[in-house]
């Protein structure tokens, strides 16, 4: 379903993704693991048409997201790592815009929107503007929105960041449900190794832009001779803490936050 060959992305002299190749089969849940700044989000951006690869090939359901952008976009849904809601609008309005943009028929839009907002416990506050929501609520709304249409491939970029255990559980059981019932292929990234271990069929470990290991969680553990995926991960990627340079959008967000506090 996803086929990546010798993918490279460089920004000037910095190579964020360096010669990465992997396949994700239809109906599979694939977890992409790596420390901060390893190239996970850059890879997802290239897979979802937001960035152009420097070189290498990508196929989504047999389509090149570079040349067949629109066809490729019809195949996937994505929950971004950083916020992507219109905070001036209400939760229901955000759902509505998403539904229209993804061509979900009106009746289905209403019905699924209600189910999902109830599932993620936002139904009672659906008419409030998103800017009044807490961080966790915004996150839940992003996730609910990601499930509004049924894509062939679902990208989840650190979906559980900032979620409480209840919502996390809700999310993963829902991911498993759509994966089993509707054969949705799932490509996810997370920093919680226990989640990857529990949910993913296969994992890939990326570090400094290079894929250092891939296989089932059991295989990875056997390869490194460790009991848990977390230990295996530390063996593969070392234990130094990575520095991540703040991108211009992060700086901007900080700037905005500074002003909104006044």
């Amino acid at each position: 379903m996803i086929r990546v060959r010798n993918l490279v992305k460089s920004f000037g002299s910095f190579t964020a993704v360096n010669d990465v190749s992997f396949d994700v089969a239809e109906g599979e849940i694939f977890a992409f693991l790596g420390p901060n700044g390893a190239g996970k989000t850059t890879t997802i951006k290239m897979l979802t048409t937001l960035l152009k690869p420097t070189s290498g090939g990508i196929e989504l359901d047999g389509l090149d997201p570079q040349t067949k952008q629109n066809e490729a976009r019809k195949r996937f849904g994505i929950v971004f790592q950083d916020p992507s809601l219109d905070i001036e609008l209400s939760a229901a309005e955000n759902m509505e815009i998403h539904g229209v943009l993804y061509h979900v028929p009106r009746a289905q839009r209403r019905q699924r929107s209600e189910e999902l907002l109830k599932l993620f416990e936002l139904w009672d506050r659906r008419r409030e503007p998103v800017k009044k929501f807490s961080g966790g609520m915004k996150r839940r709304l992003e996730i609910a929105r990601g499930f509004l249409h049924t894509p062939k491939i679902l990208f989840l970029d650190e979906p559980t960041l900032g979620l409480d255990p209840q919502s996390r559980n809700q999310l993963w059981s829902h991911v498993k449900k759509v994966n089993e019932a509707e054969r949705v292929t799932v490509f996810l990234t997370t920093h919680y190794m226990d989640e990857a271990d529990r949910v993913a069929h296969r994992v890939g470990v990326i570090d400094h832009g290079k894929l250092v290991a891939q296989g089932t969680p059991t295989e990875i553990k056997q390869q490194t001779g460790k009991e848990s995926l977390e230990e295996a991960f530390l063996v593969l990627t070392g234990s130094t803490i990575r520095e991540e340079s703040a991108g211009s959008s992060d700086q901007l967000r900080q700037f905005a936050r500074m002003w909104s506090k006044r």
Binding site: K45, T48, T49, L50, L51, K52, N70, R73, K74, F76, I78, F80, D82, P83, S84, L85, D86, I87, E88, L89, E93, E96, I97, H98, V100, L101, Y102, H103, P129, S248, S249, Q251, L252, R253, F255, A256
Partner: protein
């Protein structure tokens, strides 16, 4: 088509909910209209040009539409910052439609703003001379709005963050306003200034409005409309092209 509509609707909702912004956006036009309108009135009259308030009102309306349009294009930067832009860019909708929805929304807001300022002008004492052709002023407002919304999108798509914003304001938007003849008549200017005003698209918009509201014109109303439509078409293509190239 539904994508264009929903993005247009989004702009409308955001506009109708931002009361503070709405009130704030009238501050500058009011200053120009009331302070300059009445302050320069006596001098203007003595020079034999009639009422300055009458003269400056179409300029102030044009300015309102200009600012509102450019801002709607630069709002792209806010959407980039708050992330909503990503949501629209990965949707299975041609980017041309996304751009069209935003531009139409921004243009509609700009025209509404222009109409509200027109109302203020009338309250302040502005009286259109030709009532029969006055509704055509709306058509000129729409043309101005499309031209500068498209320009705003083209710029907004090319900037990475808000740091370029002041640059755009000081070296582009303000010159467009001051060189448009919004505040002074275009006839009898020094050569360089005359040339600068002639390449400013807003000149044609304001001249067109003066033609239909007051019956005075420098370029001629038809020429005004043709120039605006042509510039608008070019900028729409440019805006759509720049928008299609956005990477996040």
């Amino acid at each position: 088509m539904s994508a264009i509509y929903i993005l247009w609707l989004r702009e409308m909702k955001r506009y109708s909910r931002s009361r503070v912004q709405l009130v704030a956006s009238f501050g500058q036009p009011m200053l120009y209209l009331l302070v300059l309108g009445f302050g320069l009135g006596p001098v203007f009259q003595r020079a034999g040009n009639g009422s300055y308030l009458q003269f400056v009102a179409p300029g102030v309306i044009g300015m309102t539409v200009l600012f509102s349009s450019i801002f709607s294009g630069l709002a792209l930067l806010f959407d980039r910052q708050f992330g909503f832009l990503k949501e629209t860019l990965v949707a299975p909708v041609p980017r041309l439609q996304i751009m069209a929805g935003r531009t139409l929304g921004g243009a509609t807001v700009a025209v509404i703003q222009g109409l509200l300022v027109s109302l203020i002008c009338v309250i302040a004492g502005f009286r259109p001379v030709h009532l029969a052709t006055a509704p055509l002023a709306l058509a000129f407002m729409m043309l101005i709005a499309v031209v500068f919304c498209a320009l705003g999108v083209a710029i907004g798509s090319s900037l990475q963050d808000m740091q370029g914003f002041q640059l755009i304001m000081n070296f582009m938007v303000m010159p467009i306003f001051f060189l448009s003849g919004a505040l002074f008549p275009l006839s009898g200017l020094p050569k360089v200034l005359a040339l600068a005003t002639a390449i400013d698209p807003l000149s044609y918009g304001i001249d067109g409005m003066r033609a239909v509201l007051l019956g005075v014109t420098h370029f001629g109303a038809v020429a005004d409309a043709v120039v605006l439509a042509a510039v608008g078409a070019v900028l729409l293509v440019l805006g759509a092209y720049r928008f299609s190239k956005i990477e996040i």
